[in-house]
């Protein structure tokens, strides 16, 4: 095994599914719980492959971890609101999958909550489209499902 790198170049290399390599500080990498055990044994020559993460998602994750204010909760709220504001529904879902895989501190909650808000009070068809779900119920089966918890469908938009 090669000599340990000097502290100044002590960065971790992460390789995304589309082949891009990102160098991040151990402080940032340590907030991705999934790769935490790999960091301990790695040196500057190690490259950790992330099969479920695309470069776009890793860029956003690093942006979040580096930019999140450490101080007052109100500052964190403002930063998080800004962070999700510019993401399309498609990007939100992709990012949720990436942070779910990497188990990124704080970001899993933020993404899941943001997705939840987008489907709140929406019609069944809207939510199907949102998640790309193909309805495999027969009309009779679907009607039966609705009957099981009828009150839940009060006030839900017609498709």
């Amino acid at each position: 095994m090669a000599e340990k790198a000097s502290p100044s170049s002590n960065s971790i290399s992460l390789k995304t599914v589309d082949g891009k390599i990102f160098k991040v500080s151990p402080a940032i990498a340590n907030q991705m719980l999934t790769i935490q055990p790999l960091i301990k044994d790695s040196d500057s020559s190690t490259i950790i492959s992330l099969p479920d993460v695309a470069a776009f998602h890793l860029t956003k994750i690093i942006e979040y971890l580096e930019g999140k204010p450490a101080a007052a909760p109100s500052a964190v709220d403002a930063f998080e609101a800004q962070f999700v504001k510019d993401l399309s529904p498609e990007e939100l879902k992709g990012l949720l999958i990436a942070v779910g895989y990497l188990k990124v501190n704080g970001l899993v909650d933020l993404m899941a909550n943001t997705v939840a808000k987008l489907i709140e009070n929406k019609s069944v068809e809207y939510v199907r489209k949102f998640f790309g779900v193909v309805n495999d119920f027969t009309p009779a089966e679907e009607a039966k499902c609705r009957q099981e918890h009828a009150w839940a469908f009060d006030g839900v938009d017609e498709d």
Partner: protein, 384 residues
């Protein structure tokens, strides 16, 4: 649908794991989570694994819908696997019309939840009296308990309290038959850290046996409570928010020494500055004091700065703030008293009452800036 598009769709479904879907659903009201059961066969069972149930009848406006809401609560609770834990359960059942059947069902719903290792239980109800679900009080897994809207809770309801894991207890709009009902309740919570009370009243006051069991308490907020021993029970807190009114006399004879208290917020009517100094004598380590003047009374006590200076004022106090400041004689005197005696004071913040005219503000500000400061580093801020 083109082939490529179809594959994209299939890819997407397979990549969002059941675990992540359930996690998303846990942020929704249960009503919205249940709706996703008709999306597809894969989605059909998923909401049942969400460990959080959050139900509300807020939008119910008539009796028929109210009944259907009740059936929905049953269908939600009964369609879940018995082995599946319910970590959090929140029920808001506040329909003001005839809610008889849901009132009667409340105990059944609660007992279904208590069997599932519940850790966080929140009930906001509008019930007829005598319906307190007393089984809650012996749920050993409970960490957080928030109750609101129960009336005429009597000694029988709290005869057996055993909540060894409870850390957070919030009570709102609760009526007890006697003071000692609340005492009994607290006696069963030896590990309580956070206690909040809003509009909790007792119908009859009785003398209470000595009370010393809340040894782990860190935070307390007591807003509108007429139960006299309550302040005594809080002696261990580090943070205290107290709303006191004319009935302050009920607390006065029961003030303990708050030996860990570093931050206190007091909201009170104008004429209680004398009481405030008495209170400060009981807070030797206080560093941050915030006073909110509500100003209901229209007169001053003509309070005079006492010669005596409590230990916390002379040695500990770092930050002091007065909100709702109207520039009354007493409030000005108090600000002067603090600035003149607090050796460690760094900031004195005065927030003027919005009703105060701009001329009056200028005058008040002038008077304040003339006050002597015992601490050389003290900064005075005046907010319009």
């Amino acid at each position: 649908m083109g082939r490529q598009q179809a594959r994209r769709v299939v890819d997407r479904i397979s990549s969002l794991s059941d675990e992540l879907i359930c996690y998303i659903l846990s942020f929704l009201m249960t009503k919205d989570a249940v709706v996703t059961s008709v999306l597809s066969k894969r989605w059909y069972p998923l909401w049942r694994s969400v460990p959080i149930i959050n139900l509300s009848d807020e939008h119910v406006t008539d009796e028929e819908t109210c009944l259907r809401f009740g059936q929905f609560v049953f269908s939600v609770l009964l369609s879940r696997d018995v082995m599946q834990a319910i970590k959090r359960f929140r029920l808001k059942s506040v329909y003001k019309g005839n809610n008889y059947s849901n009132n009667q069902n409340l105990n059944k719903w609660v007992s279904l939840v208590l069997d599932r290792r519940v850790e966080h239980l929140e009930l906001l109800v509008h019930t007829v009296p005598k319906l307190f679900p007393m089984d809650i009080l012996s749920c050993r897994t409970l960490v957080v308990l928030k109750l609101s809207g129960f009336r005429k809770v009597n000694e029988n309801d709290v005869s057996s309290v055993e909540l060894p894991s409870l850390k957070i207890l919030h009570l709102g709009a609760i009526g007890f038959r006697r003071d000692r009902c609340l005492l009994r309740l607290l006696s069963g919570c030896p590990n309580l850290e956070d206690f909040k009370v809003i509009s909790v009243v007792s119908a009859s006051h009785d003398s209470c046996e000595e009370f010393k069991s809340l040894t782990k308490l860190i935070r307390a907020e007591i807003l509108c409570c007429n139960i006299n021993f309550i302040v005594e029970a809080l002696y261990n807190v580090q943070y205290l928010f107290l709303r006191v009114n004319k009935e302050v006399s009920v607390y006065s004879n029961h003030l303990p020494v708050f030996s860990n208290l570093t931050r206190m917020v007091l909201s009170f009517d104008k004429y209680m500055w004398r009481w405030l100094v008495k209170m400060l004598k009981h807070c030797p380590k206080l560093q941050i004091l915030e006073v909110i003047e509500i100003g209901i009374g229209d007169f001053d006590e003509n309070w005079v700065c006492p010669k005596f200076v409590p230990e916390c004022v002379s040695l500990q106090l770092r930050d002091c703030a007065i909100r709702g400041f109207e520039g009354s004689h007493d409030a000005l005197q108090f600000a002067r008293y603090i600035m003149g005696n607090a050796s460690a004071l760094q900031t004195m913040r005065i927030y003027s009452n919005k009703k105060l005219g701009s001329n009056a503000k200028v005058k008040v500000n002038e008077k304040l800036s003339q006050c002597k400061k015992h601490s050389a580093t003290c900064q005075l801020y005046f907010f319009n």
